[in-house]
Symmetry: C2
Subunit: 468 residues, 2 copies
């Protein structure tokens, strides 16, 4: 073809590499396809030299994760059961963060919790207390707990107790408050305090008695069923909430003080399709915590965001956090909102992805694309891609549409770096201002930095061990 | 290639036409693929000549079907509400059938109903009464009712009242009894009578009061949601049952005489994932009945089997049945059972397929293949194929995995014949002996004969109209 002909012909472009080239072509109305590929990155030499030791440790870690048996076994006030909880401690989502660096929704959540605890009478008083140094802030993850969005846990809040029956460890999570102006999106004030009090005084005892009557609730079974029913148990929990509701309802009815209280408790759960989310998170936390401290494993045991930083932890590097700035999600925004309203990524809910659920299991949830954007085929693509960076396929959690293939489970940070494929998280998006609530939902790529840091951290640990 | 080489080479065969050729090759261990294709059949000349009149009538019929708004509005005893029900009438599934031609499970169901009604004290007495001529047998479909499997409705049985709010017509169905030894599979005797009595005396008043408290329940909405949750609402009703349970539970609790009765009612529903089936059938019946008597439409408004005959009715040919022998399903049989144990296809539940659900919506239900056999990709294939023989795509019932495409709705008998593609029905299989229960489940092709008969019937009606 003469070069002149090229300029006379309609262009059809396949672009590999920087997406900006395609964007320019889009602008000119030229048909262009962007190949979703990025060059592989260099894996640290120390890590490569220890490949077989890491592989062995990863096999152990993955075995522990797959064998986890999370059961809901009871409820109690956080102060009485959550390790390290004290009257002046407030837990939050993500890696450690000071009041000064906290994002809007998290600060709002702290203010709301201080009001709920009766430690302040007004928002102004609460803010003064929050900043005074009298309150200790600590990540949920460091207290065997997890919380969605701001992830605030204060001493009087009732928590679910989820026990990993295979390994004996326990995880905790508060009850989900529902949608709209809620504490986890940083809302505070009388209405929020009143709801939290109702949850403490009516919902909690009803659930506590019902769970006691049932003995325990098999969360792994509910999650496995829910994946056959279109949930990925992060942003879609309608099926899991329904199955839990069916299981709890007769016990709630039998143990409640009267029919009206039982009915109100049932209505509250029925009114919130995300009620199961906090349990899917606690089940994932209980499952993954059992795989901690297996050196030199490169398997990720926590991904968590505090709205400022995105942090991860590895099975092989103890309690160390590896962090980078939390990205602002490219999401499907609700009418009237856009990316400029969005808070950077926030919440411990990425523990579901870490456990082979959420974005990793999104192929089980084609209906979710109406909520997070894209087509049903995208959901299949996301899950298929995650097999590239995981160490195992789940033995219980399955994707019916992929002929019951197990979900990609156990993120190997080496693969993330070597293939330059970052974990997908399907997430809700908070308004950057406290209390406005959710402004969208979308599919997010985790930032690269925490994974690069983690690999360097693993290399450092390996070198230290060599020296010792 | 020399002919000699052909005989020296390994054969790989693609077979079009009679499957028997492939079966011989399978037997010899030769790799062979059967192309799922059958030659088109000749459509009647009168029908072809009236193509545009039929098209217009079909458009009307389909518009009525898509606009249907089935709501659960109440419950009552069959005797008090089902049109034409009398004390000596027993309704059954499928087209009309005499006691002499009834299959085992249906005879068992009749005996069970006579015992439940107190019209006989022993099975022997019941059988004598059943055969005496004192009992009138009539198809559910002719009484605005539908019933799964044997489909027995007797005068004292409570029925759901489902009203098509768009057109004012009503449909009826009994409550689903659960699995195991149940009347719809032809079981009878004290345990069956006792359960039916409990359903009449405890379950029915509880549900009746709860529905009255709620006013009405939007079944179309529940079905649409359930399709997003892995149900096809024929052989998989777990999601729809869960959603109904969530909706009813608070009302049941508020209206039940005491907590224990409320809890038992909830446990009964929770114990039966098929509880919603009878409502999905009644919703389909109410939807399709509104499209009757639209001459000369070739759209199917009922497919039903009595375990002996498979019958269909058209929108354009009034109450006329077109029948052929009911086939024995090639199913996935439960351990210990095989095709030789199976009763020919039975039940009114194919009303779901007639309404764009069940086998027609099976692509929404990949998890069902574990129950009915095949791979998830087969489920997609079945639904895609049904678009070939339907007049419309549903405006409310969607398949998430097909990017929310509406389900294939409104079977056009002309297309069935012209393309020689028969409707798929995903069905439970009854043991041929009364009371053994379900022995399998599978995907079934409807037999060709009723559709051929229907097309001839339509041609006859057209000719008659020309003459008049």
């Amino acid at each position: 073809m003469a070069i002149r002909e090229l300029f006379d012909t309609e262009l059809k472009v396949v672009n590999i590499g920087l997406a900006a080239f395609k964007e320019s072509l889009d602008h000119c109305g030229v048909q262009a396809v962007q190949v979703d590929w990025r060059p592989p990155m260099q894996v640290d030499a120390t890590v490569e030299a220890s490949a077989s030791a890491i592989d062995r440790a990863n096999q152990r870690a993955v075995k522990v994760i797959l064998a986890g048996k999370p059961f809901l076994v009871g409820m109690a006030k956080a102060l009485h059961v959550v390790p390290g909880m004290r009257k002046n401690v407030i837990l939050h989502a993500g890696p450690p963060v000071t009041w000064e660096r906290m994002c809007g929704p998290m600060r709002g959540g702290v203010i709301g919790a201080l009001l709920y605890e009766g430690m302040a009478k007004t928002a102004r008083e609460a803010q003064a207390l929050a900043v005074s140094g009298a309150i200790d802030y600590s990540p949920c993850h460091q207290h065997a707990a997890v919380g969605p969005m701001a992830g605030i846990v204060s001493p009087s809040m009732p928590v679910f107790i989820v026990r990993n029956e295979e390994y004996g460890n326990t995880a905790y999570a508060t009850m989900n408050e529902g949608l709209g102006k809620v504490l986890r999106y940083g809302a505070y004030g009388p209405a929020i305090t009143q709801r939290l009090k109702w949850m403490e005084e009516t919902l909690y005892p009803a659930l506590q008695k019902a769970i006691a009557k049932l003995g325990k609730v098999d969360l792994k079974n509910i999650i496995a069923q829910a994946l056959h029913m279109g949930d990925e148990v992060h942003n879609r929990n309608r099926a899991a909430t329904s199955l839990l509701f069916r299981l709890l309802a007769p016990a709630i009815v039998r143990t409640a003080p009267d029919a009206e209280q039982a009915a109100r408790v049932l209505e509250f759960i029925n009114g919130n399709d995300h009620f199961f989310l906090n349990l899917s998170m606690a089940a994932s936390k209980a499952t993954l915590d059992a795989a901690r401290d297996i050196a030199p494993s490169s398997v990720v045991v926590a991904m968590a965001r505090n709205g400022t930083d995105f942090g991860i932890q590895l099975a092989g590097t103890g309690g160390q956090w590896f962090t980078g700035p939390a990205p602002v999600p490219d999401a499907l925004y609700f009418p009237g909102f856009s990316k400029k309203d969005a808070n950077p990524d926030i919440g411990d809910s990425a523990i579901t992805e870490t456990n082979g659920l959420g974005g990793f299991a999104i192929a089980a949830s084609p209906a979710i694309v109406q909520f997070v954007g894209g087509a049903a085929s995208d959901a299949l693509r996301y899950t298929r891609r995650m097999y590239e960076i995981t160490a195992a396929e789940n033995n219980v959690y399955q994707i019916p549409a992929l002929n019951f293939r197990g979900t990609p489970t156990g993120i190997d940070v080496r693969k993330v770096i070597a293939k330059n494929i970052l974990p997908v998280i399907d997430t809700g998006v908070a308004h950057r201002k406290p209390g406005v609530g959710q402004v969208g939902a979308g599919i997010l790529s985790a930032p690269a930095k925490p994974f690069e840091e983690a690999l360097m951290g693993l290399a450092k640990a390996l070198k230290k061990k060599e020296r010792s």
